[in-house]
């Protein structure tokens, strides 16, 4: 299988990589580019822990061919932390509201929340619950996650 050259923006940086046509975005991110913050839970787009932003939309990177991101912008959990190490308000709220337990869904959940708040800076509880329903969490029962997103939205969750 021949490789395909793609160029895209990853966390604000220009990337030029060669991938196989069947390489999935999550494998490009984790295995080729070494960004392991994005997790793999089911490899069929059901659990959502692999969520990243593609052109600002939350997508499951475990079922998205990497070639599809050519010419587009991808943001991962690593891209949310500022260069000086400062956390994004959503990340901060996840800590202060106790929305983190095992942490395996956390990156995907936070990316999903980011997509939501970028579109709806002040969502209702119901909008938050709908907005994050694509990411499974087995630890928290979701209440503290909803609370964290609300807290972040009140603090101006948009970057």
């Amino acid at each position: 299988m021949g490789t395909v050259k793609i160029s895209f923006k990853l966390n604000g940086c220009d990337m030029n990589v060669e991938v196989l046509p069947n390489t999935l975005l999550v494998d490009l991110l984790r295995d080729v580019l070494g960004l392991k913050g994005t997790k793999v839970g089911c490899r069929e787009g059901e659990c959502g822990v692999c969520t990243v932003l593609l052109e600002g939309e939350a997508v499951n990177s475990c079922i998205l061919p990497a070639v599809k991101v050519g010419g587009k912008s991808v943001v991962t959990i690593e891209g949310l932390v500022k260069e000086n190490g400062q956390l994004h308000p959503i990340q901060q709220a996840f800590i202060s509201e106790g929305a983190v337990q095992c942490g395996f869904c956390t990156p995907g959940m936070i990316m999903n929340a980011k997509a939501l708040l970028d579109k709806h800076p002040h969502p209702s509880d119901g909008e938050i619950r709908s907005g994050i329903s694509g990411v499974l969490c087995r630890c928290t029962g979701y209440r503290k996650i909803v609370q964290a997103i609300k807290t972040a939205s009140q603090a101006g969750g948009r970057k």
Partner: protein, 797 residues
């Protein structure tokens, strides 16, 4: 005078720091670290994506392990040919049963599961060969080249069928793995005295844990012949014991090191033994590091499950609701291997725990329970958040409601009449002499939920008469220990010259918050801050034996060990501080990085200064604590004794809306109250409550591993459904603290309790809403629809 000026000097040093000056003015009162909702110590790494789980570790240098699995639920292995697989370039080893260096069997309790099956397979997914290759793809290709000739045997999939004489024998010793009985009082007299008798059968399906992190193990042979195994585990010491036997080397040549875990819920007590042993056998054979990572489907196929059960309940009561007799029969399905089902005397094993818990948290003078644990050709049963208790709670809590209905009683009144209180005697004749807050949880839950009003106001919500609202209650109890000799917990506390602290325990962090709660206890005891204590990842080479992270035991049992360890160090520190402050030791208190004179709180020295001085004088700043609960007892013939030393209690109340035309259930409100002795970190406790309830709701409404002739039909999360954010309401937790005199700061366990009464609370609410009683789970729309039909259709009013 000279002494006094010395003291002043010390104070001066302190006052250099502004923050310290402010705190110096405030007298130390009460607890300063324990009881605080401090941020989790691992939260920063987790939100920033920087925390490495097993799958995030570099793969360079590792071989990739793969397991060839049985395609039959029950079959003899006639022959196996691996040559074609071995010839594939990149394949380094293909192992069969004959290649196991030591015991070809593993298991948490009974090592009856072959590392590699030699003569027979017992479930779809049993391992028949292992491959190690340079890449995962090559390993997978190698699996396809292995030729196995099977002779299928008749399988058995039902725990009751399995006990029949002519049932196919799964193991040589027969299909009855364990039979346990409980006898209290005189059951016949009890029922003779009853004015009402209720008999019901309840059935629960097999469940998958669905921890989001798939299992992984890495085995790395060391140059000195030691085998190092790393992975996310709940029971590193159990893994070590099994590795030693399977590899045929002494325990001190096995090193098991924990890495961060993305959820366990009991499931990562068994599975790391399985993949740890298999990875180690490959690593041992090849002399190279081997990584064995499971895909989601493999997790579903291969790892332990929650035991499915058929439960028969017969309850006798007086007309006023007072219970006089309880008879129960449990047909508990173990599946193909012993897992965590059978008993380790006196009380370990999920099966005997089910038996002990079955009559519920109620005082009943006459009790009889017979509990059968059968092998079948299904996946094997292990631990899952409640260890045999969720199942039996579904039985007794529904039976209590059904009984209340017959008696025309309010469900909370019948419970009030029978619930455990201080001094109550359990079904095992254990006297509950302390920390019994069950009725407190009932009262506070009922108040917060506004039960009386809501119970009156159930009924149709809409003019079209399609949606009916109902409320339900679930009460429960749960142990804080395993009930075996392996309950002993060790902790080491090292204080360093700068006042920073290392805490060594064998308790693992799976998301529950142990790495925040345990150092909180350590910090409180030493008088330092949480950020001063670093928890060392469990590593069996360097942490003391601690038993497994199960049974809601960590905070209480390990907490006590930490207190004891910290006190050893504190004694040395107080000796020195006493000299420095010229104050008797018993007058000192340690708090917020300082040692105070309790009588003159403005007289203090910095913790780190005392520590530095201790170091200079050769004092020991290493503490080792060991704590084991009062020894458990349980008579094998009568099931009488004190199996667990303390219990957590809880009451849940749920409101549901049922669409009587479609059977769809929406949970609209939820309150859950807990007596947990003491919340070391209340926010973490809330997290346990909310997550546990959510899992219990999943059990009630949607979860089931669907099996057809031994084959799992829902291997991935597309069709094994767990609750999403849209299925779970805002759960309102209530934390009550009825002090446990055996617990650190009065604490008891919380990890599993929230999961347990949640399921029956929802089922009772459904029955209250629509009249339909779901006695065989899950209560999915179709099941609820038929339950309504069975009752003669939706209620008229």
């Amino acid at each position: 005078m000279a002494e006094k000026s010395d003291k002043k000097k010390k104070v001066k040093v302190v006052t250099k720091e502004k923050e310290d000056l402010q705190q110096l003015m405030a007298a130390p009162i009460g607890l300063s670290v324990v009881g605080q909702s401090l941020d989790r110590t691992d939260a920063f790494l987790k939100v920033s994506g920087k925390l490495s789980f097993g799958a995030d570790y570099p793969e360079e240098g590792f071989l990739h392990g793969k397991i060839l699995r049985s395609p039959f639920p029950h079959a003899l292995i006639k022959s196996i040919h691996v040559e074609k697989a071995k010839q594939l370039p990149g394949v380094v080893a293909v192992l069969t049963a004959k290649d196991i260096p030591g015991r070809n069997g593993f298991g948490a309790i009974l090592p009856d599961q072959p590392v590699i099956c030699g003569d027979k397979v017992r479930f779809v997914g049993d391992g028949v060969a292992l491959v190690a290759a340079e890449s995962e793809r090559i390993a997978e290709e190698a699996l396809e080249r292995i030729e196995v000739d099977y002779e299928p045997l008749p399988p058995v999939f039902d725990p009751i069928e399995a006990l029949k004489e002519d049932a196919p024998k799964i193991h040589e010793k027969g299909n009855l793995l364990s039979y346990n009985k409980l006898r209290k009082g005189d059951i016949e007299k009890g029922f003779a005295a009853a004015e009402v008798v209720l008999e019901r059968t309840y059935q629960v399906p097999i469940l998958e844990h669905v921890y989001l992190e798939p299992d992984i193990a890495m085995a790395i042979p060391q140059s000195d012949g030691t085998m190092l195994v790393e992975g996310p585990m709940q029971a590193p010491f159990t893994v070590r014991r099994n590795l030693s036997a399977v590899l045929g080397i002494p325990i001190n040549k096995v090193r098991v090191r924990q890495i961060h875990m993305g959820g366990g819920f009991g499931g990562k007590e068994d599975s790391p033994i399985d993949i740890g042993c298999r990875a180690a056998v490959l690593a041992n054979h090849t002399g190279r590091p081997v990584r064995l990572a499971l895909e989601r489907e493999e997790v579903t196929l291969q790892t332990s499950k929650r035991h499915p059960m058929v439960m028969k309940v017969k309850i006798g009561a007086k007309k006023d609701g007072k219970l006089v007799a309880f008879e129960g029969v449990i047909y508990d399905e173990q599946g193909a291997y012993a897992g965590l089902g059978p008993v380790i005397p006196p009380a370990g094993g999920s099966h005997i725990h089910s038996m002990i818990m079955m009559p519920g948290p109620y005082e009943i003078p006459n009790v009889k329970v017979d509990a059968y644990l059968s092998y079948t050709n299904h996946p094997y049963g292990g631990a899952m958040r409640g260890f045999g208790a969720p199942q039996v709670h579904i039985a007794h809590e529904q039976a209590m409601d059904e009984l209340a209905e017959i008696l025309g009683m309010n469900p909370i009144d019948i419970r009030q009449k029978n619930a455990f209180k201080q001094g109550s005697v359990t079904a095992t004749s254990q006297v509950l002499d302390q920390s019994v807050g069950l009725l407190d949880t009932l009262d506070s839950c009922a108040k917060a939920f506004d039960w009386d009003r809501r119970y009156r106001e159930t009924g149709y919500l809409d003019k079209e008469r399609t949606k009916r609202r109902g409320v339900g209650i679930g009460m429960g109890w749960y142990r804080t220990s395993i009930g075996t000799s392996s309950d002993g917990c060790g902790a080491n506390v090292y204080v360093h010259e700068d006042g920073s602290v290392l805490l060594f325990t064998g308790i693992t962090e799976m998301g529950q918050g142990a790495f925040t709660v345990l150092p909180q206890i350590c910090a409180e005891e030493l008088g330092v801050r949480l950020e001063d204590v670093r928890v060392v990842q469990p590593d069996t080479d360097i942490v003391p034996e601690s038993g497994p992270t199960v049974g809601s035991r960590s905070t209480t049992l390990m907490g006590n060990a930490i207190v004891l360890a910290a006190r050893q160090v504190k004694e040395a520190i107080f000796e020195m501080a006493s000299e420095m402050l010229a104050v008797p030791m018993e007058q000192l208190e340690a708090k917020d990085r300082k040692i105070y004179d309790q009588k003159h709180p403005n007289q203090s020295v910095l913790f780190r200064e005392v520590v530095a001085k201790c170091m200079g004088k050769g004092k020991r700043l290493i503490g080792q604590g060991w704590w084991a609960p009062p020894m458990a007892s349980l008579d094998p013939e009568t099931g009488q004794g004190n199996p667990y030393f303390v219990y957590t209690y809880s009451t849940h109340m749920a409101e549901v809306v049922v669409d009587v035309e479609t059977g769809e259930v929406e949970i609209t409100d939820y309150v859950a109250a807990f007596d947990i002795g003491k919340a070391i970190n209340p926010r973490t406790v809330e997290g346990q409550i909310e997550g546990g309830v959510a899992m219990g709701i999943g059990y009630a409404l949607m979860e089931e591993v669907v099996l057809k002739e031994g084959y799992i039909q829902n291997m991935n999360l597309q069709n094994y459904l767990i609750p999403t954010s849209l299925d779970i309401p805002d759960i309102k937790p209530i934390i009550l603290e009825v002090e446990n005199k055996y617990g650190p700061y009065g604490a008891k366990g919380i990890g599993e309790m929230p999961n347990i009464p949640a399921t029956p609370a929802v089922l009772n609410a459904i029955a209250n809403a629509c009249g339909g009683r779901v006695r065989s789970l899950p209560a999915d729309p179709e099941t609820v629809y038929w339950a309504i039909k069975e009752k003669g259709g939706p209620p008229k009013h």
